[in-house]
């Protein structure tokens, strides 16, 4: 389940935490559109500052930089204050998404009394909440406990890929597909909704393989998921992916690949969506040439679950060079930001 060398390498990249941030304030709060109730609507998003993901103690996922938002020594009092701040920031919003840089259901991050305070704070004003958790914290007793508050919940699990080899050798998730399946089944048995996160283009695999992996992963999880969010890689600080990227050994996926993945997954039987972070920028999903419209259509079709316009636009573009390039990259057993390394090398040659 774990590739020890990889895990250690990732761990070593994580910085020593500095406690300079205010423990009484969430990392951030903002509004965005999502469709947690089957239609696009304003959703308030909040990242709580916690002691961090349980998996950080051992390692971290290869692309996860949320440990940067973590403080050590967060106590219940701090979390209560953060919850209060969030409450005062709702402005009438009815849907909430809660991130903790780890697992909301991990009692070491969000102790039971904090969790209770959280649900109690919002049960009157909010109609739907999405929280995230690693599979190991999705236990019947925890679910029993949260169901008490009677708030409609969707629980998001970062599966990343249904391929255990990729999870272990690329993502370094410290879990596997079977554990996901058990958790998903348990949620369904408890009538709780599930959002599954998949990563598009984890490190060390080719973009072509990444597309095919995400498509087959969607198919593998569709039956268990209320929706599936395809998250194209976004390069975060101090992560292994960043270390690769800085050396020209990783390129975030192209927008074309995300569109391709969405279009090929839309008939999977569940809602498939993507709200890319850092889209059209160097550290996020982007084509070689800026394409604002494509990114916009990806988000819009995700929100509306109507992919026709995206399909049409996507098909209108000449992608022959894109196909050739990802095919060439796929011929390499060793993955890199191939185009960049080629151009570095090529720059050494006379050019006129």
């Amino acid at each position: 389940m774990i590739n020890r060398d990889l895990a250690l390498f990732v761990k070593n990249l994580m910085p020593e935490f500095e406690n300079s941030k205010d423990p009484n304030k969430p990392v951030s709060i903002w509004k965005e559109l999502d469709r947690l109730r089957g239609f696009p609507e304003k959703t308030v998003v909040c990242i709580f500052r916690t002691n961090g993901c349980a998996w950080y103690k051992f390692s971290s996922c290869s692309m996860c930089g949320y440990f940067n938002d973590v403080s050590s020594g967060i106590i219940d009092e701090n979390l209560f204050k953060q919850i209060d701040i969030l409450k005062s920031s709702l402005n009438g919003a009815k849907v909430l998404k809660i991130f903790t840089s780890g697992s909301f259901l991990d009692p070491r991050e969000i102790p039971k009394n904090v969790r209770d305070y959280f649900f109690e704070s919002f049960k009157d004003s909010v109609d739907k909440i999405l929280i995230e958790s690693r599979t190991e914290f999705i236990k019947q007793e925890t679910l029993d406990d949260i169901k008490r508050h009677k708030i409609p919940l969707r629980i998001a699990i970062g599966l990343e890929s249904a391929n255990d080899y990729i999870i272990k050798y690329s993502v370094n998730k410290g879990t596997n597909f079977n554990k996901f399946l058990s958790a998903a089944k348990l949620l369904r048995a408890n009538n709780l909704e599930l959002r599954t996160y998949l990563i598009l283009k984890p490190p060390f695999i080719s973009e072509k393989m990444a597309i095919s992996d995400v498509i087959s992963s969607v198919r593998a999880v569709a039956g268990y998921s209320n929706d599936v969010s395809i998250n194209p890689m976004n390069i975060q600080k101090n992560t292994m992916v960043e270390a690769l990227w800085k050396r020209g050994l990783y390129r975030p996926p192209r927008l074309f690949s995300l569109a391709e993945s969405l279009l090929k997954s839309r008939d999977s039987g569940t809602e498939v969506l993507s709200y890319p972070t850092g889209g059209n920028r160097d550290r996020g999903v982007h084509n070689d040439e800026f394409d604002g419209k494509l990114l916009d259509l990806i988000v819009r079709s995700s929100l509306n679950q109507d992919f026709n316009e995206l399909d049409e636009y996507y098909n209108s573009i000449d992608k022959s060079k894109y196909y050739m390039e990802i095919d060439l990259e796929d011929r390499m057993i060793f993955q890199s930001d191939y185009k960049k390394l080629v151009s570095h090398l090529s720059e050494s040659v006379m050019f006129y």
């Binding site: 695999i205 060439l328 090398l345 090529s346």
Partner: protein
């Protein structure tokens, strides 16, 4: 030899015809892709696992092997730091010798391939070329340019032309020339300089002992392994004859120098003093040439652009070498008879300088009278010195212990070293080297030098590598060798490849028998 049995080496570079392909080679990755499975792929018939590979900076790993091939899977990462890729290539050739083909996927830049071949890479692929082609880059003899379309076929042709030139260069012994003059990429030049500077001792072990010519057009020529080896010999191992006088002379374009107009004119003037004088020619890139080595390789085989100006690197090389030489080889009198452009040597020792137009009557008579005065009552040179010195240079100073009672004779226009009327060595002017005569072979057997050990057969025109059991590690391509089975001399010949290649390879010829 049929085509299948072609094997040539030049330094770490290998050109062989094998299983219907010839190296160096640019692999068509369509062929790989066609048979690729999710877990496996095949390179020239060798199966590899399609596993995730981590970068060198994470894992310090860089290769996997299967069958005939060792693949530097992250070549594209390593080459970003030229020292890394060269380190990998040198290490792999050292580890595997010529028993594996080294494959560098994804870095087949035709302007960089030559130095990589020189460093030991055998296999490349078309991925890089295709990537550049779809970005409309076009390859030309002037470097790359941007064109309006995809030049994939032209570019592949360009790259494959380079490859076939490289094969020729390995076969004809001109690879170093090609790599040195192929100055399109600063990265390639860095790599060549790294090989020359950091891997001289390894590389000189496999560098041919002679090549058809040395066109010292670039500053990198100063660091050719064969030339550095020569200068090291002069610096560390050479011993002067027992005479008291040294005459330093400038070089000439014509080789050997004594056949040039200028040397002929000077030598005819000082003919009667020459037996009391040792002559030393100052030049670049070979540095110093004692007269008796002037017909040998490399002294008689180089050519350099001359405009009467010396580069600082040449001056320093010459001065350093001359200082070392004079420290080790003591003369009573040193006369330098040189044009003014060479007067930078004056500080290298206690030198009587006669500088100016070396062909002027005035200077010639000054030289003549100087030498007349110096050579009064001076000891004469041993008439065997020249040949002993030449043999020592070619085979090593150890051979001096085996040269008692030799004589020199000349027949059919060839100089021969004989003992008891039998030829031991014959000097081949065209190669600038001696060949070992059958009668001379026992010297090498006794000394344990230059021996190729073979199975029990009678060697005819070639000894094939399949029949070679072992070889002494002093054998470089082009070396004279003796062929031995069970302590019994079976023949003499010329090594076609280095000792390591003879041992590692199981096809192709290793020795041309005489």
């Amino acid at each position: 030899m049929e085509k299948k049995d072609n094997v040539f080496t030049f330094g770490n570079a290998l050109s062989l015809y094998y299983k219907d392909y010839e190296t160096p080679l640019i692999i068509n990755t369509d062929d790989i892709n066609q048979f690729k499975r999710s877990d496996k792929f095949y390179v020239l018939g060798n199966e590899f696992n399609a596993e995730i590979k981590y970068p060198y900076f994470m894992s310090s790993l860089y290769c996997i092997e299967s069958g005939d091939i060792v693949m530097v899977y992250n070549a594209v990462e390593l080459i970003q730091r030229p020292r890394l890729i060269i380190k990998a290539l040198m290490a792999l050739r050292k580890k595997y010798g010529f028993s594996k083909l080294i494959y560098l996927p994804g870095i087949g830049d035709p302007y960089i391939i030559p130095v990589l071949v020189y460093a030991g890479a055998d296999l490349f692929d078309d991925i890089y070329i295709k990537e550049e082609s779809i970005n409309n880059i076009k390859y030309t003899m002037m470097g790359k340019t941007k064109s309006s379309d995809n030049n994939i076929n032209d570019n592949l042709k360009f790259a494959n032309d380079i490859i076939s030139l490289l094969r020729s260069a390995i076969k004809t012994g001109t690879l170093r020339e090609f790599v040195e003059k192929f100055q399109y990429s600063s990265r390639a030049i860095e790599m060549l300089r790294i090989i020359d500077n950091d891997y001289f001792s390894d590389y000189s072990m496999v560098f041919p002992v002679y090549t058809p010519y040395i066109k010292a057009n670039t500053i990198e020529s100063l660091n050719r392994p064969d030339i550095v080896s020569y200068r090291n010999y002069i610096k560390n191992d050479y011993s002067k004859p027992d005479v008291e006088n040294l005459l330093i002379l400038p070089c000439s374009a014509k080789k050997p120098y004594s056949k040039s107009k200028s040397h002929k004119k000077i030598l005819s003037r000082i003919e009667k003093y020459r037996k009391y004088i040792h002559e030393l020619i100052v030049t670049s890139p070979v540095g110093l040439v004692p007269r008796e080595l002037e017909s040998m390789y490399p002294a008689a085989f180089y050519d350099i652009p001359v405009i009467g100006l010396w580069y600082e690197d040449e001056k320093k090389m010459i001065n350093d070498l001359l200082k070392s030489y004079l420290l080790k080889n003591r003369y009573k009198n040193i006369v330098a008879y040189i044009d003014e452009d060479l007067n930078f040597i004056k500080s290298s020792g206690n030198i009587i300088l006669i500088e100016g137009n070396i062909l002027s009557e005035e200077k010639l008579s000054e030289l003549e009278s100087t030498l007349r005065d110096l050579t009064i009552n001076s000891p004469k040179m041993d008439h065997l010195f020249n040949y002993k010195s030449m043999l020592s240079y070619q085979f090593g100073t150890w051979i001096k212990d085996y040269l008692d009672d030799i004589k020199i004779s000349r027949s059919y226009n060839m100089d021969m070293v004989t003992r008891n009327g039998r030829a031991l060595f014959v000097f081949n002017e065209k190669l600038g080297r001696f060949t070992i005569n059958r009668n001379g072979a026992c010297i090498f057997l006794n000394a344990g030098k230059k021996i190729v050990y073979i199975d029990d057969f009678k060697p005819t025109s070639y000894v094939f590598n399949a029949g070679i059991k072992d070889a002494t590690d002093d054998i470089k391509p082009g070396d004279e060798v003796i062929i031995v089975h069970n302590n019994e001399i079976r023949g003499v010949g010329t090594a076609l490849i280095s000792y390591r290649a003879m041992i590692d390879l199981d096809h192709g010829a290793g020795v041309k028998v005489r």
